[in-house]
């Protein structure tokens, strides 16, 4: 997780390329929705952040407090950003705003893939570039069978039957859903449902993928499947925003932000976050189990040289001489 700068080098992302080749035309070439990372003809566009938000405030109708306040965030091409915070700290609100699903109450500026999130048209347009996957796949699957579900977004965008067929087949292969293509979504396992939902989100070529606790309802295998798919997408250059309550999903991230009452109160690496125990506790987060055990050992007088965040690191630290 958490590599950066992949977009500028190496082959362009297959997901975006295929789609862009399908969709690119004289008009389409000017629109970021149609362009894979690294193929943007405009150098200025490439250096600009994908997401650029400053001084944003959001309040739900009738609420007494802001869900997001004084909120700043920049996300570059191909970045992997992990977002943590207590229940109610504004994470899901952020996912909805990034996806153009809610209107900011106010902001100095709020741009997503160059679209102005403060305007109705900007929010409609950004929905093409920014895909959002939510926690509960049952709320996101709409069609009678898996392949129809994956085609749903493309159909709404008016893709031709031929292009749509090819794109859906790609997605079925990509997410190992070929054997399930005719199955009713509600009869799938949790992991299969979430992969179907992910395939549907990504069938439309995206520049940013926002995942709101995508593994919360999955068993270990389903969770590993989804995380592996996300990691592969990132390696291909897609920018990822992963919102999670699972502290072991944070381990290894280059860039983590932590929210508290709608504001970013921490930004740094996973290792930096977990090293600040007081902050972790205040934000109602936790350490991954190996780190928590190391802290408990320290309280009993056995101090480990480094804070381990994985079981492998813990075993190394335990093996090192005191």
């Amino acid at each position: 997780m958490g590599r950066e700068g992949r977009a500028a080098e190496g082959p362009p992302a297959p997901l975006a390329v295929e789609a862009s080749a399908t969709r690119r035309g004289a008009a389409g070439a000017r629109r970021c929705a149609k362009l894979p990372h690294g193929m943007d003809p405009s150098a200025a566009d490439r250096s600009a952040p994908l997401i650029d938000i400053a001084g944003l405030r959001f309040r739900y109708p009738g609420a007494r407090e802001d869900a997001l306040a004084d909120f700043d965030l920049q996300i570059g091409e191909g970045e992997f950003l992990v977002v943590v915070g207590a229940n109610g700290s504004g994470k899901s609100t952020l996912a909805r705003l990034l996806g153009g699903l809610d209107k900011p109450t106010s902001a100095r500026h709020a741009l997503g893939c160059g679209r102005d999130l403060l305007t109705d048209q900007g929010r409609v347009d950004v929905r093409r570039d920014v895909g959002v996957l939510f926690q509960n796949p049952d709320n996101q699957l709409v069609a009678q069978c898996v392949e129809e579900d994956i085609a749903f977004g493309l159909e709404n965008l008016g893709w031709s039957a031929v292009d749509m067929r090819r794109r859906v087949d790609e997605m079925l292969t990509r997410f190992q859903l070929e054997d399930l293509r005719h199955r009713e979504p509600h009869l799938l396992s949790g992991g299969q449902k979430q992969r179907t939902a992910l395939a549907g989100v990504l069938a439309v070529p995206r520049r940013v993928l926002v995942l709101d606790e995508p593994t919360a309802m999955l068993d270990a295998v389903g969770r590993d499947d989804v995380l592996a798919a996300v990691s592969e997408l990132h390696a291909e250059g897609l920018a990822i925003v992963l919102i999670t309550q699972e502290m072991d999903e944070v381990v290894g991230a280059d860039r983590v932000i932590a929210l508290e009452r709608g504001t970013v109160v921490f930004e740094g690496t996973a290792a930096e976050l977990f090293a600040d125990i007081d902050l972790v506790v205040r934000l109602r987060l936790g350490l991954p189990a190996p780190g928590a055990l190391a802290v408990a050992l320290g309280e009993r007088g056995r101090l480990l040289p480094r804070l381990p965040l994985t079981i492998g690191e813990l075993l190394e630290e335990l093996a090192s001489p005191p």
């Binding site: 229940n87 109610g88 999955l218 068993d219």
Partner: protein, 287 residues
């Protein structure tokens, strides 16, 4: 429970109720076809014990909770509560002593205030107002929500963790002797999970029997001495954990991994069957 108020405890020897399922089968209908969800499910939980109910999604875990609670009638077999057979005198009362906390129960909060929400169940049982007030106060206390702060709040104004605890309070207000929980930790932040673990440990200390559906094997291992593994509606294993034996393989076969502390013990070449339940115990052993 009778219309006069909470049932006195003196009729039973323990606070918790024992549970036994005897060859329970259940199917639901799907587009005209009958899809088996539970097949010949047999297991028992002694009064006051905690059992983790684990298995892949779709293995029948939530269905089993519904059947035990009596929301669905088994096609075959019997759910024996506190030693009382279905149809025998007192069975309906025993069923009312089973509390079921649904997955994301906070979506079912509906009253105008937190207090009214928690009071709903006891009122429906016909308890007198003083008894209802008592039960509500105790339930708020049990889940760690100070009544003075929360009672008049609108349920929708609560954070996710608070709303989950309020929903649990609604179940606990009816003084259940057996509590069924369906994935209670899902989508809670780590701090709220720690709070909920403390609440469940307190229920255990009070002697209440727990059946806990979770895919969090670390918390299952910490909270429960027993486990029931369901696979495609059948019992793959029931009884005490057995990591000295086959449990690691059994979990892997059911899309789960072994608990962190069991893996750690195994990799440290200690007996995995002796792995500690809590990080504190592990630290004590390793310090």
């Amino acid at each position: 429970m009778s219309a006069q108020g909470p049932a006195p405890r003196q009729g039973s020897t323990t606070v918790g109720a024992s549970l036994a399922c005897r060859r329970v089968s259940f199917s639901y209908s799907e587009g005209g076809a009958s899809v088996p969800a539970l097949r010949d499910v047999s297991f028992s939980v002694p009064a006051g014990d905690a059992m983790a109910l684990i298995g892949a999604s779709g293995s029948g875990k939530s269905t089993l909770l519904q059947v035990i609670r009596g929301l669905d009638e088994p096609e075959a077999g019997a759910v024996v509560l506190d030693g009382v057979e279905p149809g025998a005198a007192g069975y309906a009362e025993r069923q009312r002593e089973v509390g079921l906390v649904f997955q994301t129960p906070e979506v079912q909060l509906f009253a105008a205030t937190a207090r009214e929400d928690v009071a709903f169940g006891p009122r429906r049982l016909g308890w007198s107002e003083p008894d209802v007030a008592d039960a509500v106060a105790r339930a708020f206390e049990l889940v760690g929500l100070p009544q003075a702060v929360y009672a008049d709040r609108h349920p929708y104004s609560l954070s996710g963790g608070e709303a989950r605890r309020l929903a649990l309070a609604g179940a606990l207000a009816m003084r259940p002797r057996l509590v069924l929980l369906d994935e209670p930790f899902v989508s809670l932040d780590p701090g709220s999970r720690r709070d909920l673990v403390a609440i469940l440990e307190r229920l255990r200390a009070d002697g209440i029997t727990l059946l806990l559906v979770t895919h969090d094997v670390d918390l299952a291992w910490r909270l429960c001495e027993q486990r029931l593994v369901l696979a495609e509606g059948r019992v793959a294993a029931a009884g005490l954990w057995d990591f000295a034996g086959d449990d690691a393989r059994l979990l892997a076969a059911n899309r789960l991994r072994e608990p962190f502390l069991v893996e750690l013990w195994r990799r440290l070449a200690y007996a995995p069957g002796q792995a500690p339940r809590t990080l504190e115990e592990a630290a004590k052993a390793l310090a």
